[in-house]
Structures are given as structure tokens and as C-alpha cells.
């Protein structure tokens, strides 16, 4: 079974020198549906979670999962959509991050990166980045140093 969500979010493919970033910028109002979609995927209740931009071009990302732990996310870029296959630990990482964001109304950080490999070309310089609008304020350098020393 598949789940199709048409959400107010932005999907961009950003090309930097030597790096390609599939950037998904979520808005706060999609959080509930997005978390539910990730949970369905993780529990195996759906096989594919498809997310479509509500506005702009209607870009599409399909999220799939595979049971293995470890390994790298695989991305397949097609003409009308991007297909992202998440390993179990990456899906758990995503779900944990967004559930916490849902619980606290503020995310730990303003974005989350998943390193990926292009399933067609083998290019490893692919990132899937999830951006969120609200995040905890950064700490000062002194506080960062103290935390790392502790």
C-alpha cells in the first residue's frame, strides 16, 4: 500500500560544485501528517510514502525503506520525481527528529542531512536535506566548548 501526501512544502534540487542536495523544506503545519507518514513507513504499514509539493511545480519525492541497518541512503532521480530509499537507521533517525520537533514545537537544529548515493551513477556526493522553520537557538562558543569538554 502507498500513502500519498500533498503538502505545503518546498522540494528543490540544488547543485553545488561537486555536491548535489535534494532539499526538502517542511512547513510547521505539515508536521503531523509528515510524522504519521514516516511512522507508517517505519512500521511497514505502507511501502511507499509519496510527498508532493502543493504549490509551485508540484515536485514529488517517494520515500521507500529497506530493512537493513547501516549502509547509505539511495536516491534515484527521475524526470518527474526523486525516489529516496532509506535504510532502517536513517528512517529511525528521521522519525525521531521529527517526532521530537512535533513534541517540543521546536526542532533541535534547523536542518538534518542524510548522505546518499545516486543509485544510477554511484555518485556519493548526494545529500538529502530536511529543513525546518523553527529550531533551538544556537549556544555560544563557550557553552559549546563546555559541553564538549564535559
Amino acid at each position: 500500500m502507498n500513502k500519498h501526501l500533498r503538502l505545503p512544502l518546498d522540494i528543490d534540487l540544488v547543485r553545488h560544485p561537486g555536491q548535489t542536495v535534494l532539499r526538502i523544506s517542511l512547513h510547521r503545519e505539515v508536521l503531523c501528517e509528515w510524522c504519521a507518514g514516516l511512522s507508517l513507513l517505519k512500521e511497514g504499514l505502507i511501502e511507499v510514502l509519496t510527498v508532493t509539493e502543493q504549490q509551485k511545480r508540484g515536485a514529488k519525492v517517494q520515500f521507500l525503506t529497506e530493512p537493513k541497518t547501516g549502509g547509505t541512503v539511495r536516491v534515484r532521480f527521475k524526470s518527474d520525481l526523486s525516489e529516496v530509499t532509506l535504510t532502517r537507521n536513517n528512517l529511525e533517525y528521521l522519525q525521531h527528529f521529527f517526532l521530537k520537533y512535533y513534541r517540543d514545537s521546536v526542532a533541535e537544529v534547523d536542518h538534518l542531512d542524510l548522505q546518499a548515493i545516486d543509485a544510477e551513477t554511484g555518485n556519493k556526493e548526494i545529500y538529502v536535506t530536511f529543513r525546518v522553520p523553527e529550531s533551538t537557538a544556537p549556544v555560544t562558543p563557550e557553552e559549546a566548548r563546555r559541553r564538549l569538554e564535559g
Binding site: H16, G18, N89, E92, Y93, L114, E125, P138, V139
Partner: protein, 348 residues
């Protein structure tokens, strides 16, 4: 070594090439032997000081013995397996014969160190032996030569070309003295091949280290025994070092560390810190990275101990941040991911 019959007998005092002197049981020297290039060349009788010169063939068998004035004292023709055909001038008692080994006057057997050899049979008198802990029934066999499977055979039945230095020690293509062989039999000494086989087993499970530009598994498939031993020594030194250390093989073998892939999990803690400038943020990251960090891929560096990772991809830098991640060096799990941010336009 001692050969005795009651209170009379002979003591043999061995040297690296053979017996250096023979004495009575009370230590009075009867004969002294002189060696050159590992070959017995002369005997000095004591206390008379009479000198006998030894002349040997390509196998080290003493074919001729002369006095100091050149008088023939012994001139032996041997059968291929060491039996005496004839002694043309039997004028002196001389018991070192076929391949220079001592021939026992009572049994007629040659002492090869580990075993007695019977030249009349062309066979050793006892089977080749090994350590009791070694279950290999043919411990010194070279399976490329079926003749070596016979535990009594002499020099793979090729006695006119090959010699046996000590009764069995042609092990893995290495020649050893009888002391080494005795130690080998009880597992104290090992050939290079045996050491390398053990090293291969030890290194087979090592995943995070590459050698000569290859993963450990691929390296082990093609490496020589010596290369394997060098790699093992380097890996042991590296893994047992108390402090952060480099992996150094040397001697024509290059080693490096292959770090595990960084693996974010649901336990990864994300947080961020803000700095005055890009330069300050990067400097902060470098304090954890150390001076000998390894670039594991473009824009990603790992500290030599594998505990910290600095990630500065073009996409990160263009959005005014880099990442400092604390990792589990064994699994690559990301323990925490610190986003180091700086305001736009502050430069390095």
C-alpha cells in the same frame, strides 16, 4: 651430547656447523674439529696435536682425509645413499662420513641430529616426528612432492643432489639446525610460513585498515608471507598504542586506516553553536580534529582516532555552517552532531 658405556664414553660438544670437540666423560679433549664456511676441514688430535685434513664432495661427504704431509689416510667411495663402497687407504680411524655426519661404529647408523639414518637401507630408522599438539600426520611433507609423504625417506629419494642437514628440517622450504627442529617439534619455533598463516588468520577479521591501497581481505589474497608479517606487526602496534598513533608498516608495505561510514541513528543528538565568523567556527572544529586528521572523502575529515568528524561540504558552507560530529570509532554511529554556524558575510 654423550655416548657412554658405564664409566667410559665420549662427550660431543656441538657448534653451529657440527661437533667442535670430542672429550672423555671427564672432559679431556681427544679431538678438535676445524670448520670453514660451515664445512669440516680438519681435525686436531689431542694431546698429540696431529692434524688431519678433510676433503669433501658437493654433498659434504668426507671422501678423502690426509695427514699434514699429504699422505692418504682415508679415501672413500660412497654409494648414492651413503654406504661405503671402498676405502682405498684406511689408515686412520675417522667416523664422520656421508654428508659429514657421524657414523656410529657399533650400529653403522648415521646421526643426523633428529634421527638415525641407515645408509644400507637409504631410510631413516624412525619416522619424522612433530609436536604432540600438531595433529598433522606428515608434518614436514611438501605435498607438491609425494615422495616427502614417506616419513622414513631420505631427501625425497634424491641423495646425490640433496642433503638433509639434521634429519627432518626442510620445513616450508627453510633449512634449520637440529636445535631449531627440536624446538619446532614442541611448538616453540615456527617457519615464516607458519607465522604468516597465523598472521593471516589474525588479520582476516580486521576491517578498518587497508594495506598497500587494498582492503585487508584483498591484501591477504596476494601478499607474501613477509608482507603479511610486517602488516601484522604494524596493526598490533597501532591497536595496542595507549595514545593516538599512526599506522606505520614500512619495509615496502604501506598501511592506512579505513574508517567506518558515519551512521546517524535515533540516538544522535543534534545541536548548534553560533560563532563570530567562519574562521572561528572552523578553528573550533579543528581543536577536536587534531593535526593529523584524515580526509575520508571530499569535504569530510576524521580525527586519527576516528572519534571526531568535521564535515564542510559546499552545500553546508554556502549556508554558513559546518558540522562537527562525535562518532563511535568502531561502528561509525554519530553520537552528536554539532552545527557550527556563523553570520552571513563574516568571511574566514
Amino acid at each position: 651430547m654423550e655416548k657412554a658405556n658405564g664409566s667410559t664414553g665420549t662427550m660431543y660438544w656441538p657448534g653451529p656447523s657440527g661437533t667442535l670437540s670430542e672429550t672423555t666423560l671427564t672432559g679431556t679433549i681427544n679431538e678438535e674439529y676445524i670448520y670453514f664456511g660451515g664445512q669440516r676441514i680438519a681435525r686436531v688430535d689431542r694431546p698429540s696435536g696431529t692434524v688431519h685434513y678433510y676433503f669433501s664432495n658437493h654433498l659434504g661427504s668426507h671422501t678423502m682425509v690426509t695427514s699434514a704431509t699429504g699422505t692418504c689416510e682415508q679415501d672413500i667411495d660412497y654409494y648414492p645413499y651413503g654406504g661405503v663402497v671402498i676405502d682405498h687407504c684406511p689408515n686412520v680411524a675417522q667416523h664422520y662420513k656421508f654428508t659429514g655426519k657421524e657414523r656410529d661404529s657399533e650400529s653403522g647408523l648415521d646421526m643426523f641430529g633428529a634421527r638415525y639414518y641407515g645408509s644400507s637401507l637409504g631410510r631413516f630408522m624412525t619416522p619424522d616426528w612433530s609436536a604432540s599438539s600438531n595433529p598433522d600426520p606428515v608434518p614436514y611433507a611438501d605435498l607438491r612432492y609425494p615422495q616427502s609423504l614417506n616419513l622414513y625417506s631420505y631427501t625425497k629419494n634424491n641423495p646425490t643432489t640433496l642433503t638433509d642437514p639434521n634429519g627432518h628440517c626442510d620445513v616450508d622450504g627453510e633449512h634449520h639446525g637440529w636445535v631449531w627442529c627440536a624446538a619446532h617439534a614442541i611448538g616453540i619455533t615456527e617457519t615464516q610460513k607458519e607465522q604468516a598463516d597465523q598472521a593471516r588468520a589474525n588479520l582476516a577479521g580486521v576491517k578498518n585498515i587497508n594495506v598497500n591501497g587494498q582492503g585487508m581481505q584483498d591484501f591477504l589474497k596476494t601478499a607474501t608471507n613477509q608482507q603479511v608479517l610486517i602488516a601484522q606487526r604494524a596493526v598490533i602496534d597501532f591497536l595496542s598504542a595507549d595514545a593516538m598513533s599512526h599506522l606505520f608498516c614500512g619495509q615496502g608495505v604501506s598501511c592506512g586506516i579505513v574508517f567506518p561510514v558515519d551512521l546517524p541513528t535515533s540516538g544522535t543528538v543534534n545541536w548548534s553553536a553560533s560563532f563570530e565568523s567562519e574562521g572561528e567556527a572552523r578553528a573550533f572544529a579543528r581543536t577536536k580534529l587534531g593535526s593529523d586528521a584524515v580526509e575520508v572523502e571530499p569535504g569530510k575529515w576524521r580525527s586519527a582516532d576516528g572519534k571526531w568528524q568535521y564535515r564542510a561540504k559546499p552545500g553546508d558552507v554556502s549556508e554558513n555552517h559546518v558540522h562537527l560530529e562525535q562518532l563511535n570509532p568502531q561502528t561509525g554511529e554519530v553520537i552528536q552532531n554539532l552545527h557550527l554556524r556563523w553570520p552571513e558575510g563574516t568571511g574566514r
